[in-house]
Symmetry: C2
Subunit: 332 residues, 2 copies
């Protein structure tokens, strides 16, 4: 466990985050599918964070951050392509604070609508990280908002890690310990948090990150040992286009066994399987966990696997487009 | 409770059906949505039969029927536009029997694929009830199959009614009794079964049927007091295009308070709300329960309502088409 660097979150902070957000977030179910077990040869348990408040695990980190704000904070702000923005807007309502979210104009309509539904102010910007940061600095300069970053933040990492505490508890209730916990990685808040939690509480469980081959900075960073901070993402998994944060990279390289990449085809296959077999409307980024099991079968076969379904916010108008990418002519 | 007519199922048969199918079917969850409660002013509990075996409540009736077959039955057959066919095919596998399903060529691809996936033989026919019955009689004549009808059958009605026993048990566990149970009505197997169960076990609960205005034979039959057996359905709710069965009509008029109709627009609104708010991929027919609450708000306001989500089998390629029917230009 990384404790020697005071700038990084500790496993203990995950435990204390769980107390901070108790009662604020849902304990989401862990579901199974016999058909998907038969298909993959693994014993799969899906952690349903698409059923979390605001439809994504991001409610955990945002909820924790807003319990740990500096005194006298009146307003918070962030930049986000979607779920973190909605989560912060939601958490701000819970705490009675004003909130501004900087969003790229390319963000899914459903995610913009979610942010707006919590009454946050939306500031639109260009698609690059630089565009976002410039717009956010402007908000901070003009309004004095306290910034809650989407992933490179110890409060956020610790908050996201609470999902792993729940997973361990639920596995224990069902009488097993997981062999592998696999989660999508974009900025790395979730994966770092899970890594921290399991390093302390279930060190024998293997933590794997999964990312689109079209946004594989995490794998390249981890395998090469150099933190890569630029990439040109090309993936339908809109939540995973960001590069790893600095703290996230530092935690992940100590606590996560490996990062696997998945093709766009596997993501679409996984999405369709989740929609049709589990009837859960997850978003493309969430399907990356199952895509990893589909595309790296040998690593998962005969293992007790927990795959995190990270969120369920997407433009439904994209469903047919996404299925079209499979190229199957079967559907009417 | 109707017990004077030996041709009709009794409440006791629902209780015994529950024993017949114990261990064979899932106890599906009862879920909530704060957003939908706020939107409707009701306290809504959704019974998730789209998470049932074969993705629909039909597994209950088929499972019960196959426990009550005449001795020496080697083969079963039915006609079905979808979920009953899949349910019978599935139950036949569980019992080691052969199964043939007569399906209209217009049945959704997903429903045909489901039947085929259980190894049943599919015989395609024209779209009318007469086409189906003619094709089914041919199968019976040629193969000596035992027919398990989709709804007008006391074993089926009793089996579908087991969902109401679970609902009552789950409500009790959560510390309340439902004021209203609302379920979609097509052939009436589910609604009659719920009516029977609640008449015996929760006579103060109001049972309401909900059907598309474009397939309103049940309302007209119930309100006019004459069983209507012909209609020209026009609705996206493909599971509800059939007319009420004879036994179903007889049971429903004694046990169900009223049938309400819903517009196609309300069905699409309800579908979109269920998909986006609960993240549950239900089929159009299932959304008719929530559509009733949306369109007949005054009947449900401030009530503890259980709405049955009947199934989750649909061609995903239709998602965008269905949303297009809302006429909203908001989606990308």
């Amino acid at each position: 466990m990384p404790t020697e660097n005071n700038d990084l979150p500790s496993s203990a902070e995950v435990l204390s985050a769980a107390q901070n957000i108790a009662g604020l977030v849902h304990r989401t179910p862990l579901i199974r599918s016999r058909q998907l077990d038969e298909r993959t040869g693994a014993s799969l348990h899906f952690k349903c964070e698409h059923l979390q408040k605001v439809g994504a695990f991001k409610a955990r980190g945002a909820g924790n951050a807003l319990r740990l704000l500096p005194p006298d904070t009146a307003m918070v702000a962030t930049h986000s392509s979607g779920n973190h923005g909605a989560a912060l807007a939601w958490a701000a309502v819970e705490r009675g604070l004003a909130c501004t979210v900087v969003m790229p104009e390319t963000a899914p309509v459903a995610k913009r609508a979610a942010v707006a539904s919590y009454g946050a102010e939306i500031v639109l910007c260009g698609p690059t990280l630089r565009d976002r940061e410039t717009a956010l600095q402007k908000v901070v300069g003009e309004k004095g908002a306290h910034v809650v970053p989407p992933f490179d933040d110890r409060r956020i990492i610790a908050g996201q890690g609470t999902v792993a505490l729940e997973i361990l508890q639920q596995c224990r209730e069902e009488g097993f310990t997981p062999d592998i916990v696999v989660a999508p990685v974009g900025g790395g808040g979730l994966l770092a948090g899970i890594g921290l939690a399991l390093a302390a509480l279930a060190p024998d469980a293997i933590v794997l990150g999964a990312e689109p081959a079209g946004a594989d900075d995490a794998q390249r960073s981890l395998r090469g040992g150099i933190h890569i901070t630029e990439q040109h993402p090309d993936t339908i998994a809109d939540g995973l286009r960001t590069t790893l944060g600095r703290r996230n990279y530092a935690v992940i390289r100590r606590t996560v066994r490996d990062i696997v990449t998945v093709s766009e085809g596997a993501i679409v296959d996984a999405l369709e399987l989740l929609w049709t077999r589990t009837k859960q409307l997850v978003e493309p980024s969430a399907a990356v966990s199952l895509a990893a099991v589909l595309e790296h079968g040998a690593r998962f076969r005969d293992k007790r696997v927990v795959a995190v379904l990270t969120g369920g916010n997407m433009d439904l108008g994209r469903v047919s487009d996404l299925l079209g990418k499979r190229g199957g002519g079967e559907r009417s």
